[in-house]
Subunit: 213 residues, 2 copies
Amino acid sequence: MAQKDTAKSILNAAEELFSERGFAETSLRNITSKASVNLAAVNYHFGSKKELIQAVFARFLTPFCADLDGSLEEFEARLGDQTPQLADLLRLLAENSLAAGKGNPRRVGIFMRLLGLAYSQEQGHLRKFLRKEYGAVFARFMSLVTAASPELDDQERFWRIHFMLGATVFTLSGVESLTAMAEHDLGVSTGIEGVIDRLVPFLSSGFQAPHQG
Amino acid sequence: MAQKDTAKSILNAAEELFSERGFAETSLRNITSKASVNLAAVNYHFGSKKELIQAVFARFLTPFCADLDGSLEEFEARLGDQTPQLADLLRLLAENSLAAGKGNPRRVGIFMRLLGLAYSQEQGHLRKFLRKEYGAVFARFMSLVTAASPELDDQERFWRIHFMLGATVFTLSGVESLTAMAEHDLGVSTGIEGVIDRLVPFLSSGFQAPHQG
DNA sequence: AAATGTTTGAAACATACGTTTCAAACAGCG
DNA sequence: CGCTGTTTGAAACGTATGTTTCAAACATTT
């Protein structure tokens, strides 16, 4: 049983360290010593650091996207030819995200931070990998968002989608330090579910703001 | 005249490379070869890589924050004891940001990306530096935002501010690739001013969304 | 139990990094 | 000009990185 434990320990350590410090700032020696395995084990099990990075994403995204695709299937079926509601789509996404990190609520924040890093750091291989591997589910979700906002022209919708994406990635990325800050300054504590509960109305309202042509 | 040119060339190259690839992924050799100066010039003029990073931020933020502080002074005076409007505050911030990158519109995007990196990468020294150096202006702006939203409780306001921050940083960070994407997919091109014109209504509407207590 | 294929451990490898050194080139000024 | 302090250039330094090597340990099958 110690066989798979090595690879899994490496993934666990890498996931956490990458999300805390970025990819280039995290050395294989950092990872292997946190995971209590030998340095060579990374190259043995994953081939290279690049492939380790991709494996970290794959371990989270593959089941997540499969589940999301199922949820979308069901959502579309239940919808028939009705117009979807944006808030429902956001809720669906939120439910799936929370479910993906079940057992460990920190996982969602960690992963949002990783996604942010994937786009802010120069990891060309990662972007290609993500698009190739998970682009289809993303496109399916987006076409539902389009159906949910027939009043917007393509340009306005394009930008508002990215405004929503930014608000979400940014706040959920930093959800740990932000909740700590809120607790320190305001004396209240909220879990990630609480943040999402506040985020959805914000996004819905912004996305459906009056369109000044 | 070649004296100050060396330091300035280094700052220009560093600003661009840091924003493209992050801090750790950009080596001093990358910077000095892009700037066409000797490697040792960085340590001579700035002391260390850390101090170079801080100098890049200082060159942009020091004049920006001074101008912003002036604008806020004027805004508060003009306001008297009226309640400020959030949209006006956002517009004021946008005007100052655009003015800071006058001559080079790319500059705003570059700098947003740098600010994003400052918070997403593990650069503890940078966060301390920024807070110490520019925290006061930030706090002044925030207290106006608080005055502009008396209907929100502290917690809701706290989160909505960060939602706005996220949408802004994320979209303006990637404004170059996003406008390219919009042009490719939708056949239209918008400058950063156009993006900000779309962003402000989105943020205002989200920030003032009905508060479900 | 023996043999085989898989996984680990300790060490070395080549390379790239930030930083330092020190002599040469340059500036401004008496 | 000759001098002094500042800036540059080429090379080296020490350290840390990703990767490779190869023998030892292990697990699995016959």
